[in-house]
Point group: C2
Amino acid sequence: MPQDVLLSFSRDEYADRIERVRVSMEDAGIDVMIATDPSNMAWLTGYDGWSFYVHQAVIVFASGNPIWWGRNMDAAGAMRTVWMDEDRIVGYPDNLVQSPDRHPMQHLAELLIDMGFGKSTIGVEMENYYFSAAAHAALRATMEQARLYDATNLVNWCRIVKSETEIGFIRRAARISDGLHAHVLEMIEPGVRKCDLVAEIYRTAIRGAEDEDGPYGGDYPAIVPMLPTGVDASAPHLTWDDRQLRGGEGTFFELSGCYRRYHAPLSRTVYLGTPPDIWYRAEEAVLAGIEAALDQSRPGNTCHDVWYAFTRALNAHGFTKESRMGYSIGLSYPPDWGERTMSFRKDDMTVLQAGMTYHLMPAIWLDDWGLEISETVLVTDTGSQTLCETPRKLFVKP
Amino acid sequence: MPQDVLLSFSRDEYADRIERVRVSMEDAGIDVMIATDPSNMAWLTGYDGWSFYVHQAVIVFASGNPIWWGRNMDAAGAMRTVWMDEDRIVGYPDNLVQSPDRHPMQHLAELLIDMGFGKSTIGVEMENYYFSAAAHAALRATMEQARLYDATNLVNWCRIVKSETEIGFIRRAARISDGLHAHVLEMIEPGVRKCDLVAEIYRTAIRGAEDEDGPYGGDYPAIVPMLPTGVDASAPHLTWDDRQLRGGEGTFFELSGCYRRYHAPLSRTVYLGTPPDIWYRAEEAVLAGIEAALDQSRPGNTCHDVWYAFTRALNAHGFTKESRMGYSIGLSYPPDWGERTMSFRKDDMTVLQAGMTYHLMPAIWLDDWGLEISETVLVTDTGSQTLCETPRKLFVKP
């Protein structure tokens, strides 16, 4: 490892992670695991760069250190971020990038064959943005005698219980999230352009925040700020434009601070003017749902249990929700801050453990408006804790 | 189309785009094209939302309007952004999202079978972040009698020559890019935290700029700001941290303004203090390379011609470059602002035409430092034009 690599976690913590993955690999009968998800790559090695738009991976073996594999020009970035020695960093030449003739995965396949894994069982992440259908086909065609095994989310599941250091990072992200909402509440009023609000949100997010150890900077969140207004709030994933906000409309803000790639998403809704009564009824329903969910969020209960308690409370207040009301969060790269493991919905029987973190996201999207009030939750030894401190309510600015 | 959809382009322009794609489909023998690249989806229909982290697509047929297909909750976003009528917007239920049992592509396959395309030739984008290996497998398994044809970049190639409106959008992005670099030059000095520079870059990018038609807001760029310093600048894709800048180091800034998803990337390098002589020699080499490239950028010449002229000039000044020195740009979503069509490198025989736009990116990354000076270039009827106005030089702040 080069002298001045600043690792985010101890070498022991990385060793423990590799060990967890090896146990899962052994359970699944996998000899070699190819992790292409940038979040998995970062969690396993410390690698952190915006290079996932080209093919790259971390390869985990039953013994020996993992290998970082990627484009030659990014191997320099690996040398500056990963805990392994230089001999575990392998680059491929630039003429493989977006080449019509040869796929980078052929290079990786040949490397594995040379290492003696040509007839092994190879775990791949079939359902991942960064493992394309063409990558799979190229690996398949070059490693004819290997068995490719769908190990989607195998590494993600190893990430579900967070260490103390990881929780510390999420707490730092949560302070940033609180700062974002405080700033929005201060700025928002009729006549403000949506893009100017977003500009301030980004500025605040990247400047970071401060805790007892001093100030710290922020990282880019895995999802851009979402803040649809009025009828657009029925469409949760539209991004901003440069129109001015008007009175008599509600806007929800789904935002997350990010610290060293760890997230703490938080949503709040702001109404400019006097909201129709139904908004207050929706607020009441959502708050009751959140209380019921938090009450059931404790080690031993399942995601289904939490969903059930939430749904009963929501329904008792006359509202319903089709989509899941929460999901695991932590380390992430674009385009999604969800960890893609547990979902809080019917029949998800994942058992909660202390150290899990999730986004409790009981949004209600109706035909021509939407209300979002959400929390980042840490499961503790005895129950749960919300990590942000922004008041949990519908904000009304007359 | 709902009353208040604000389309970015005329209905005629969308019709022309569909027609271009149909010609390419016919040439390739494709009956139905499934476009999963969010840039292609936006270009074909106007759809614009941060929803590409779940499966979605635009389906183009030999006749009739295209279909927008995606998650139910995002169908509401499609209703508010696309030019087609509501009956061409199809949603799938939320229980297909990240479900271990059933893949959203099964839903799409069943839709196509119901429409009578069960035995047709279906174009898919095998090499795309948003068409996973699992998506391909699910489509394959459900449409057993169909022929899946690799139509990677078929739609991208239809996008390569930009319309007047598109060029106008890129010009607007270019004004934002100029503003970013002006702001960086103003702020940068020893002691400034890297994250505070990025915070200002984001703020400026999203607030937007102004032209003869008035002020306009900015959109999120498809790549985050890159600004590695010192030794890190040998690793082009590392992102920022919260350390302070120091004298005696160079930092390059690879930034792009974005307007309605159109980009105008621009890189400049700033040295704090007095750079070693080799920096000036590198500057001279890169500027000579850019001049040579611009001189060859005209209709009728190939990417190879431009690359060759550039390389000769660079080599004559004692420098070499392995990676491509430019690529097509325009409409993009994360994680890449490249259009994935022409690359300016050896043997790329794409013939330049008026209306093409590219990022002329002659970066030099050496063992322990790097220099980037780049331009966004428009190919005109008679030659080429750079779209930004930031002085083309190595900036030195003593």
